[in-house]
């Protein structure tokens, strides 16, 4: 199996606090990884470093074998990374369809000159319709994204992430704020994404769903990895239980 994402001794401090302290991990093609940990464990910080929204103090981030540590978020997306935000960020003044077409046009928008020389959107529109169908947003295409309820916006985020044709998607709490029915529908879609051969890294508080769908679990605590492997084995690990009992989340996991 080839590595899609590699982290080599990635670390960052905020003021005096070690938010992420030397994480070295490899995610292989086809993996379905859950990244969990108690509040303040450094999950979101690590995701932001992988996405290029934060620059680490030391260490390297590699995508598909090439070092992207110094690259911008947009360059990483063009290199095969897709991400959804914890707080949805659609283009509210564009239609739902345009939001996805824009993502599907990543081949044209890589640079201004290329973008200036291309006009036709037909192919991208067809792909966008298909993707909107696969996430269950058929019928909302012509509406402004700003008018959609949260549950549908979360699906729109996923649709846009798929439209950039990624090798790996980082999903930052894609279930947060959804009711039970919406959440399980969203999980189905994520599993469908994985079945298409896209590597998935999922950050999620909903441990029940994480345990159900992930094939591999990475547990962070105080910025370091304290568990990595098969979800049930990892959760049986005393160090992991200790971390979770300390924050009172085990109860939630078993509930």
């Amino acid at each position: 199996m080839s590595a899609v994402l590699e982290l080599d001794d990635v670390a960052i401090r905020f003021g005096g606090v070690q938010a992420v302290g030397g994480v070295t991990r490899t995610v292989d093609a086809g993996d379905f990884v859950g990244l969990i940990g108690p509040n303040g464990a450094g999950k979101t910080t690590l995701i932001r470093i992988i996405a290029g929204l934060l620059r680490p103090d030391r260490g390297k981030v590699m995508l598909g074998g090439s070092d992207v540590t110094g690259e911008s978020t947009s360059a990483r997306v063009r290199a095969g990374l897709a991400l959804t935000h914890q707080i949805v960020r659609p283009f509210r003044e564009m239609t739902v369809l345009d939001n996805v077409i824009l993502a599907a046009g990543i081949g044209y928008t890589s640079g201004p000159l290329r973008a200036l020389l291309h006009v036709s959107r037909r192919r991208e529109a067809e792909r966008a319709m298909e993707i909107l169908g696969s996430v269950g947003l058929t019928g909302t295409e012509r509406r402004l994204a700003g008018e959609l309820p949260l549950g549908q916006l979360k699906r729109l985020e996923l649709a846009r992430a798929l439209a950039v044709d990624p090798k790996i998607v980082l999903l930052d709490e894609p279930l947060a704020g959804l009711n039970h029915a919406e959440a399980s529908r969203q999980v189905e879609t994520i599993m469908e994404v994985h079945r298409r051969g896209i590597t998935v890294v999922l950050v999620e508080h909903n441990l029940e769903e994480v345990m159900r769908v992930c094939r591999r679990l990475i547990v962070l605590n105080n910025g370091v990895v304290i568990g990595d492997g098969d979800p049930w084995e990892v959760m049986a690990n005393p160090a992991v239980q200790e971390a979770y009992v300390g924050s009172g989340m085990m109860a939630h996991a078993e509930a």
Binding site: S74, R78, F91, T109, R160
Partner: protein
């Protein structure tokens, strides 16, 4: 055509180029620039110097475009570093700096400006036709840009840079492109203005002009090429048609700016759009 008509039509053409080019920066790409007069002025001065030195129209046009876009790309780099409200202040600053700098330069004629710019040789109507052709070309180009993937990406960058980045769109390159294109066209307008008047002083490029141009963009409907063209034509003719408006130009423009934003933030374009939507429903 009377000399008066020719001069009015020429000024309309120049204002259309200026307003449409500002709309590319502020309307398409969402980068509020309140210093468009500086790029217009840089183009006018460069073209004037080139005309005085070589008397070649193509060289003067090129000098105008280059001067406008070089200054514009410099300011574009500033836009990469500062937040949007800082950018508005910085561009006001660029306008004041430009005026304050030129006023003190003896090689640019200082307060007196540059007079005796050689004629293009096309005559007043020839100049007017050249201005109109270039204004039409600018409008066509603007319409094309807004339909292209560039215009699409501009809208994304203008609305939310971070969200654009997650779709692989690097905001920096697009902002520079918007400033580069918009200010090159402002420089072009500057060269045409130098041909038209054959005499320039720095007061023609002050901050008030930049506000007038922003008024055209906002009143026409920010982002809408046709709305902005209509506003540029209308707001140029208005003071000519109505004497009261000519005497109280700033009062009227300022008042319209306030009223349009307060009552119809989408400008003319949105009003027309809504009207059509309503008649269709009815």
């Amino acid at each position: 055509m009377s000399a008066y008509t020719i001069s009015i039509v020429s000024i309309i053409g120049i204002n259309v180029i200026l307003a449409v080019s500002l709309n590319m920066i502020s309307g398409f790409c969402g980068q509020i620039s309140l210093g468009h007069g500086a790029f217009f002025g840089a183009g006018a001065y460069a073209a004037a110097l080139a005309m005085v030195a070589t008397a070649s129209v193509p060289l003067a046009l090129l000098a105008g475009v280059v001067a406008g876009s070089v200054l514009g790309i410099l300011v574009g780099f500033a836009s990469l570093r500062v937040r949007s409200d800082f950018l508005a202040v910085s561009t006001i600053g660029v306008n004041f700096l430009f005026v304050g700098f030129v006023r003190k330069q003896s090689w640019l004629g200082g307060e007196m400006g540059i007079s005796g710019i050689p004629p293009t040789g096309f005559g007043a109507s020839g100049n007017m036709i050249m201005i109109l052709l270039l204004a039409c070309a600018t409008v066509v180009f603007s319409l094309y840009v807004s339909r292209s993937w560039m215009g699409f990406a501009f809208r994304a960058v203008g609305e939310d840079e971070q969200a654009a980045a997650t779709l692989g769109i690097g905001a920096g390159a697009y902002k520079l492109a918007a400033f580069g294109i918009g200010t090159a066209l402002a420089g072009l307008a500057g060269a045409l203005y130098a041909f038209f008047t054959q005499f320039i002083t720095v007061d023609a490029f002050d901050f008030i002009l930049s506000v007038m141009l922003m008024a055209m963009v906002v009143i026409g409907g920010i982002g809408s090429t046709w709305g902005v063209v209509a506003a540029a034509v209308g707001l140029t003719l208005l003071p000519e048609a109505i004497r009261f408006v000519n005497d109280y130009r700033l009062l009227v423009f300022g008042g319209m700016l306030v009223l349009v934003i307060r009552l119809a933030p989408g400008g003319l374009a949105a009003l027309v759009h809504n009207l059509f939507a309503r008649t269709r429903k009815a």
